[in-house]
């Protein structure tokens, strides 16, 4: 049974942001701040880099647009050229709408499944779920977790450090796998 890390509870978004800044300044890397809703300014407070998800979505959108335009051109110019009211086979203005729709569709898949990929979800088992109190985080609780993997991790120091920041109900989490 390995240890996972330390969990400390805070009472408000303000104290969580404050704690995140201190944890960041202390040099911790493998930590996270849990809250019931996204907190404005938390990315900077934790020292996180900008999410790279946007590039993935952009690439997906471009793929969708190219696929949509390519599909229509291929169907009407190469695979199945069909004369309808003498209209040109390569009627590119008429392809605008499906090109646009497929761009949006692919971007949306990129956004949602890319978000899941970057967040490593679905992940149904996680050590934080072994804490009894942690489930309040989806309602009204604010938590900081610092992981064992962190190079600066020293259990007693981390506990007293989090207590010093105003953390309560400090727990040492076990990874039960």
């Amino acid at each position: 049974m390995n240890k996972y890390g330390v969990l400390a509870r805070f009472d408000s978004p303000q104290s969580l942001v404050h704690a995140a800044e201190k944890v960041r300044d202390e040099g911790f890397i493998n930590f996270d701040c849990h809250s019931p809703f996204p907190i404005h300014g938390m990315d900077d407070a934790m020292g996180l880099k900008r999410s790279k998800l946007g590039y993935l979505i952009g690439a997906m959108g471009l793929t969708g647009a190219l696929f949509g335009f390519g599909l229509q051109s291929w169907i009407h110019s190469i695979e199945y050229p069909m004369n309808i009211s003498g209209k040109p086979f390569f009627a590119y203005p008429a392809y605008a709408i499906i090109t646009f729709e497929l761009m949006v569709l692919f971007s949306a898949f990129g956004a949602v499944f890319g978000m899941m990929f970057f967040n490593r979800i679905p992940r149904f088992h996680h050590p934080v779920f072994y804490s009894e109190k942690f489930s309040d985080v989806s309602s009204d609780a604010f938590y900081v977790s610092i992981e064992v993997d962190d190079p600066k991790y020293d259990e007693n120091k981390v506990i007293s450090f989090l207590q010093g920041l105003g953390g309560t109900e400090i727990e040492v989490l076990k990874d039960e796998n």
């Binding site: 019931p36 890319g114 992940r123 009204d140």
Partner: protein
């Protein structure tokens, strides 16, 4: 000084949108408490029974339609498009408010949307399902409805991608898929809340769909970006969907349809009817579930303002159509419009004008925007009016076109009516199941309206 003023402004706004002393805990309890109710309210069962009986009518009518063919409808020559297309356009239009609220108002940082966006998004999903039924069944031989799709087949046959009907299929299909993804993404943190409060089997089911959400900021970071991008791409999407629907009409050569005003006019009408439906549903739901402190009169007031705006836009479009018909000097075009207002279906036209142009004018006055029974009645009138708008466009235009020798009257049959009523069964069955099992207001987003959710609230930061 300005800090004080800012704070009090934020507080005043929060008090209007979330009256009473609410905090994070009470919001969770109030919203999550509804799907967690041990005993289902009797009103819910009554409504659900009613919805199920309509659904049975729907199943029976569609079954008979598939068995017998589209000859059971009142369509004739020249009115080849009857109630099926009217209902399709009507339901798709209703769907528009959901995406407008969740995407466009999100981009404009209209916080008040947080109380009604889940509601409206769900309405969108079921409305679009009801809409998609009609193109599916109107083809007659529905077992070949997959011919819409560009899939390689043994006949070597492909859809005509230059046809607005195929554009429409792609637009509505994409719209449905993106709305579903948007809705589900917004639901993930709330499913985690329900998971954390539930026990036993329910915990497993909610937990499965919550995907193991932990609320860590490393997750919120990507989540928020994904949500923002979805809002960004849904905005042009929602404006495109009804524009494409309108091109089903506008790319034809029929007088009264062949107009460039159609796309914006259809979009405005769609948003107008969608807000009407959100209003109807939210007035019922806040009453049944005592959520008057979360979906407040303030929210209803704001929705009424949007209905006033879009109602005026459709009113402008109606008059502009008449002006252009006269100004064009085209006798067929002029006749089509005179026939709308004074022809045999004059009652359809004036019902539309009354419901869509006259009724929303009451919303100039705050008194009417905050009068709940009045809002309830007008929101239903709005949707009746928008149904008549599509009736006017489809039936009145088709029944008298170029040659008087080809004119005819159109009468719907009992099957037209029963399939239309049946889609209400489909809509309300889905919607009531949503109210019973899922949070009708976004729990995570409702908290963002509280000033306490802002980390700069209450103390000087930096």
């Amino acid at each position: 000084m300005s800090n004080e003023a800012m704070k009090s402004k934020a507080q005043i706004r929060a008090e209007k949108l979330l009256p009473g002393n609410q905090d994070f805990t009470s919001i969770t309890n109030d919203i999550a408490g509804v799907p967690e109710q041990k005993k289902t309210p009797i009103q819910w069962w009554l409504l659900f029974g009613f919805a199920l009986s309509l659904l049975a009518i729907f199943a029976g009518s569609v079954g008979f339609l598939i068995w017998e063919g589209t000859g059971i409808w009142g369509i004739n020559n020249p009115v080849f498009w009857g109630w099926a297309i009217i209902n399709f356009v009507w339901w798709v239009g209703i769907g528009h408010a959901g995406t407008l609220i969740s995407a466009i108002l999100h981009l404009f940082r209209q916080n008040w949307r947080n109380a009604i966006n889940r509601f409206a998004e769900t309405m969108t999903l079921f409305a679009v399902i009801c809409a998609l039924v009609f193109p599916g069944i109107h083809v007659g031989r529905i077992w070949v409805a997959y011919w819409f799709l560009p899939i390689p087949n043994q006949m070597g046959m492909w859809p005509n991608m230059r046809s607005p009907l195929i554009w429409d299929f792609f637009a509505v299909f994409t719209y449905f898929t993106v709305s579903l993804l948007f809705w589900y993404t917004g639901l993930i943190p709330d499913l985690a809340t329900l998971r954390d409060r539930a026990k036993g089997l329910k915990k497993k089911v909610y937990g499965f769909f919550a995907l193991g959400w932990r609320g860590g900021n490393r997750q919120w970071q990507h989540y928020e970006l994904a949500y923002l991008v979805l809002a960004g791409i849904s905005t042009p999407l929602v404006l495109s969907v009804h524009s494409v629907v309108s091109s089903d009409f506008a790319t034809s050569v029929i007088p009264g349809w062949h107009t460039t005003i159609f796309p914006p006019y259809f979009v405005a009408g769609a948003i107008y009817s969608g807000f009407g439906m959100v209003m109807t549903l939210s007035i019922i739901a806040r009453k049944v579930y005592n959520l008057g402190h979360i979906i407040t009169v303030e929210h209803l007031d704001k929705m009424a303002q949007i209905m006033l705006l879009t109602g005026c836009m459709v009113g402008y479009a109606y008059s502009m159509e008449f002006f252009v018909a006269w100004y064009s000097g085209n006798q067929y075009e002029s006749f089509a419009f005179v026939n709308r207002a004074l022809g045999p279906y004059w009652w359809g036209y004036w019902a539309m004008i009354f419901c869509n142009v006259v009724v929303p004018q009451f919303f100039w006055f705050e008194k009417y925007r905050r009068h709940i029974p009045f809002l309830f009645i007008t929101s239903i009138l709005v949707n009746i009016g928008m149904w008549f708008e599509r009736f006017v466009i489809v039936v009145i235009t088709l029944h008298r076109d170029f040659m008087p020798g080809a004119w005819a009257m159109y009468n719907p049959t009992i099957w037209d009516v029963s399939i239309y009523l049946g889609t209400f069964g489909l809509f309300f069955t889905g919607f009531l199941l949503f109210l019973r099992f899922l949070p009708m207001v976004s729990i995570a987003e409702a908290k963002l309206v509280l000033p306490e959710s802002n980390p700069h609230h209450g103390h000087d930061h930096e």
